[in-house]
């Protein structure tokens, strides 16, 4: 049974349909990407899952049933708009938010201290939150999301304001949580992060679910007849069975003519005694898929 099951949810605000008949499931032990351009309806979806908004129609099942007060303690949420009490010391703020998730104050104190050490914030624990840099506040917000060891983690743009070292640390942390069987929904615009972390995804645009499936399936679905070739030699101006050649950072993308197979091309290249370093089926990046889907949707509207 999926940890989160979203079934045909629709939500309107006045005449605007924010979410239009969206369905998806999220399993335990996976990182699920919730993608979409700005204003696509991602945040509304999340708020419906969290029971902040009621859907006009459709339903959400979370951990086997509807949301209740007890389940709130099992959810860790990192909203897009960061929110911490600015004028109280960091440690007090984090302990308070942890106790609101049902943790005993002494346990919360201990866990917060551990996380502060891990996130390199321990020396700042007595400082007011407003004295912290943006990146530090982002790390503090992540501590609030994870400190009570939630079963379901919903994070919106978790890497914003983080430097590469901290980005890597958060990635490792998310993988750890996934491996521990947690259910993770990640909202982001950074497609390379999705490619790196997500097992499955749904792409929402203008309130509608446009793509849904595993990362591999989605890319496969958008794969064009093309190959990527890396060679130290210069490629001939024209190749048999190739319509178009693109050179990007030393790699060639060869777009095949209709009916031509990659095997024919490989055979030709070998026979031409070219030194091939890499030869692979060109898969579209998520960025390309994202742009294609969003543009197509825009045109159809």
């Amino acid at each position: 049974m999926p940890s989160i099951s979203v079934q045909n949810i629709t939500k309107k605000f006045a005449s605007q349909t924010a979410v239009d008949n969206v369905s998806f499931d999220v399993e335990a032990g996976e990182i699920f990407g919730l993608l979409g351009p700005n204003g696509a309806g991602k945040t509304t979806c999340i708020r419906i899952i969290l029971d902040i908004f009621k859907p006009d129609s459709g339903s959400v099942t979370l951990l086997g049933g509807p949301m209740n007060e007890e389940k709130k303690n099992k959810i860790g949420y990192l909203p897009e708009e960061r929110g911490l009490y600015q004028d109280i010391p960091l440690e007090r703020c984090l302990v308070y938010l942890a106790t609101l998730k049902g943790m005993d104050a002494s346990v919360a104190q201990e866990r917060v201290a551990n996380y502060l050490t891990r996130f390199d914030l321990i020396d700042w624990r007595k400082k007011k939150v407003k004295e912290l840099s943006k990146g530090m506040q982002q790390k503090a917000q992540l501590i609030t999301t994870l400190v009570h060891q939630p079963q379901v983690i919903i994070i919106d743009e978790p890497f914003s304001s983080l430097d590469p070292v901290n980005t890597q640390m958060v990635k490792d942390l998310l993988r750890e949580e996934r491996d521990a069987g947690k259910t993770i929904i990640m909202c982001t615009h950074q497609m390379h992060q999705v490619e790196e972390l997500c097992d499955r995804l749904v792409l929402i645009d203008q309130g509608k679910a446009m793509l849904y499936g595993t990362l591999h399936d989605v890319r496969q679905q958008f794969a064009k007849p093309a190959v990527t070739v890396s060679t130290q030699d210069k490629l001939p101006q024209s190749l048999p069975g190739v319509d178009n050649i693109q050179n990007e950072n030393g790699d060639y993308t060869l777009h095949l003519a209709p009916g031509k197979s990659p095997q024919d091309l490989l055979q030709f290249l070998v026979q031409a005694h070219l030194h091939i370093d890499k030869f692979e089926i060109a898969m579209p990046t998520l960025d390309e898929i994202f742009i294609e889907v969003v543009k197509k949707q825009g045109v159809s509207q």
Partner: protein
Amino acid sequence: MNKFWLVFAQEYKRHVLRKRFIFAALSMPIFVGFIALVGFLSVRLQYNSAPVGYLDSYSILSNPQPVPAEKNSLLPAADFVAYSSETSARSDLEAGKIQAYFVLSKDYLSSGEVTLVKGKKAGANITDDFGSFMSFNLLEGKPQNVITRLTEGNNLIIRSADGSRELAANNWLSIAMPFLAGILFIIAVNISGGYLLQAVVEEKENRTMEIIITSVSPSQLMAGKVLADLLVGLTELTIWIVFMLIALRFVPQWVAIGQSTQLDAGSILLMVGTFLPAFVMVAAAMGAIGATATEAREAQQVAGLFTLPIVVPFWFTTAIMFNPNGAISTGLSMFPLTAPISLPLRAMFTNIPAWQIVLTIGLLFLLAGFTVWLAGRVFRIGMLRYGKKVSFREVFRTQPVQGR
């Protein structure tokens, strides 16, 4: 621990431990103390306790005696010295032995005519002091009770026609009590409501709200905040009252007045019965305004409109006192928003029919309940909305957002 208590404790600590709160709590007594000190100094600068002379050439006073000094008086009255001739009085005035002298005219008893000759440093107190001196000596020989009655005046007792209510003029603080309690109530409502408003707007502004409502139900959140902010307001009032009691120790006359004040249980019940629902009503409204406002300044402007009707009865105090059963008094005491101040005040001057009290308090509780319900809905719709107003249609639509 129940999350309500967590919200309550956090909210209370957050406000009370702030420098802003400590400053606000201390600034009022410091301000009042400063005003009192300036007032005292201005009187003290015009005060002069040096002897004052008088000429009673026509022996109007038979055996003049000094007025007995009041105990613990900060500004004791000047001593009066009799002179037989104006020449000697003038020479003492010029020598600085006296600050001024009074000359009683021949027909003083019929005309009250007195001439004052004063030096440059004569105090502003000498005229009053001379008046007391003359009254005291003119009444000499009369029985003590007559002297007391003439100097202290009547104790007027006002009794209602059916004899059910009675008020003595010397128990004036009892009359003033609903008035004072009303002022304290308005201050408490404003302080607490202000803190609540500020807390909700801040949580919206710094986006903590979204985290909080995924941990606590809106009703627990609001209840915890309302109670904590009520206590914050009461803490501030208590600090002021403690300072006031400390100050009263230095003004002993006030203690006697305080001890003579009698408040019956009925008046206290009326105050509690009206203040409590009114406070809940205002607090709920403040929470809702805070949730719908996009910034603190906007919220404070709207909030002023809610406390305004509560203050209105103060403008009609005279009407309530002199015509407690008139249309204005009855109307004000029964209208829910003006009832908290006017009902207890009116009750001091008339016997309010039981049905009116029951109806008014009942209405207040009903309205408080409705406001909490309405505020809850507005709060749930507005808490995560930025830059767009909440419409009436949305508020009354079924199941807008989070139901619990």
